[in-house]
Symmetry: C2
Subunit: 137 residues, 2 copies
DNA sequence: ATCTAATGCTCCAGAAGCTATAGGTTTGGA
DNA sequence: TCCAAACCTATAGCTTCTGGAGCATTAGAT
């Protein structure tokens, strides 16, 4: 039996976050002690570790809920789980591409060295005037 | 004179977002028509375009507030504006690095083709068992 | 058995950056 | 003049937590 603090230490999920997940239905409401404190089993530790890992990977609560539901039915084909992961991979790649555009623009903007005044600062002018951009956002 | 709708069309910032920016103090409360509708000048159009651009680049409202304040003082040295942009560049690069880790992990996870059952699905197992990860998140 | 520090409980608010809805008013063109 | 489109305010909601207030329980030391 783990207290909520044990669970938190073992999974790295903060205590209020665990309660939040319970509220959101990602983990079931656990048994309680005589004094109304949450008491967890190993099963729930594993489930929380799963959630933590998926969150680290940037999956939404919604996606995780779906994956958890799927994992309750080991006999079904796993195409759906695959679809969720693949979809997520696409969005991750899109984010990377977008951030790399920003990176190169910021690099250009930052080329000045702070040794002049705001009046002719490239940072300020670049932000004021979109047409100075190389990219197409 | 632009209505809020004109401003929205010209900058691509949605109407409720413009009002939100006003509330947050990023743009000043503009003049009003007889019937209490917002009427903007070109100056405010430019300021909003600046904000839009900076947001596109992922700068926080806080950072933008700082940059806007700086741009009111063209005589000061621009080291501060530079610092803000550079700092942001660092966080953008960190995000990219992190997402690339996720990308490679998701690639491995997704290698299965959905032609078997949940019971031995790599997606589900990989999420359940952190030790299967190559990276160190 | 008692004390105490650590831990837990619930409820509520806030953070970021919007977005949406409800219910009403103003504007601009036919 | 009339009507639809656009505008107004106020408020609530979204997502994913995080933190605090105020009180109750637990575990270990004595």
């Amino acid at each position: 039996m783990y207290s909520i603090g044990d669970l938190s230490r073992r999974t790295g999920v903060k205590i209020p976050t665990i309660r939040y997940y319970e509220q959101m239905g990602l983990i079931a409401a656990p048994e309680r002690s005589e004094g109304n404190q949450r008491r967890y089993e190993k099963r729930e530790l594993e489930r929380l570790a799963f959630i933590r890992h998926a969150r680290d990977l940037g999956l939404s609560i919604e996606s995780i809920r779906d994956l958890l539901a799927l994992s309750q039915h080991p006999e079904r084909p796993c195409g759906e789980a695959d679809r969720i992961a693949k979809e997520h991979l696409v969005t991750v790649r899109e984010k990377i591409a977008q951030l790399q555009k920003l990176e190169s623009e910021l690099e250009r903007i930052v080329a000045c060295n702070g040794d002049h005044t705001i009046g002719d600062c490239y940072v300020i002018r670049a932000l004021a005037d979109h047409s100075m951009c190389g990219t197409d956002h």
